[in-house]
Symmetry: C3
Subunit: 144 residues, 3 copies
């Protein structure tokens, strides 16, 4: 992974073999990023994705073997249990251009990955929401 810091964001290019979420988290940890918005495209292999079942309060997972175009990555960096956590959803397309997607556990870049991480001014912290079963953003302001 190579990067260029540019004011309150960073342009990143990932190389073959880089794990997407792991690389975001390593960067965030090294640079002290506790809140950011993520966007990206590229190509990847063996993505493990999931969907969350509210009924089971658990993620169902599937590993997609093979290489795919990364058609979209959208997500964010926040603080979970004291460390930067990368929460990303992706879509990816196969050799027939069909698109699959879900919550990204992780995937390895193949040809390249091109990403932008836009930093927030203050950390956002996740805390377990018992009703949902997931660590959710703790923000205070509401319209009500």
């Amino acid at each position: 992974m190579k990067y260029r810091l540019d004011k309150s964001r960073v342009f990143m290019t990932f190389a073959k073999g880089d794990s997407i979420n792991k690389t975001f988290e390593t960067f965030a940890e090294v640079k002290g990023v506790g809140c950011a918005w993520l966007n990206g495209i590229g190509a990847l292999e063996n993505p493990e994705i999931g969907y969350y079942s509210l009924e089971d309060k658990t993620y169902h997972r599937k590993l997609f073997k093979g290489e795919y175009e990364l058609t979209s990555l959208i997500g964010n960096i926040t603080m979970k249990e004291g460390k930067p956590f990368s929460h990303t959803h992706i879509t990816f397309s196969d050799t027939e251009y069909r698109v699959f997607g879900g919550h990204l556990f992780d995937a390895d870049i193949t040809a390249a990955g091109e990403f932008i991480m836009q930093f927030g001014s203050e950390n956002i912290t996740r805390e377990m929401n018992p009703g949902i079963g997931l660590p959710l953003w703790c923000l205070e302001e509401s319209l009500g």
Copy 2:
């Protein structure tokens, strides 16, 4: 919905039951936002989506019953008939990780929604384009 204003943008977390477009529009109306760019992920249920037919000059609609991962939301806030209007397109994935999508009429958040709204400096206004049959952005500058 809870939020944190951060310079010229806002990080938003939507809770179970929040309607996506309706919540964006309520926030925009309360805060006086007439131009913004939207991005987000999460989980939702019962999305009503559509595609626009230029031939019929009408949206064809479909309600997808059930729960899905929100794999991407991209869109914007502009002014339509004097009020903030949320125009968003989404993709979402089912329990087999197949992805569907289109123009979002609206959908309810299930586990959570994580969004960023980046404010423009000046309002963008939509006006009906009779040739297209839709209210389109009115901008003045062109390269020609």
Copy 3:
């Protein structure tokens, strides 16, 4: 295509018949943009998309005839061989709301396209990576 410059970004609305990547590149060339991040939605026809095969070191291409909703466009502008180059990945949905996608060669807007281009402070240059067979971002900083 009409646009509004807004600090370090531009909101753009594309009209029926505008070619997506070609219009981004023309704008970037006229305005001297050598680094930017792209996001957008809209409706398009006859997209030609592809996926890159690392084994063949070539793109496989397919032209999708007909009209589709543009459910997501994510990409960037960088400098390739001395000129602005638009690298974008898209997803799009058909009349059954199924989503297809990949690397976008180009497509024509139908009803409208709504885009944001966020400018970087300095150009990013692409150079051919012989191992991958593609012109990749040249950035210098790494964590190692």
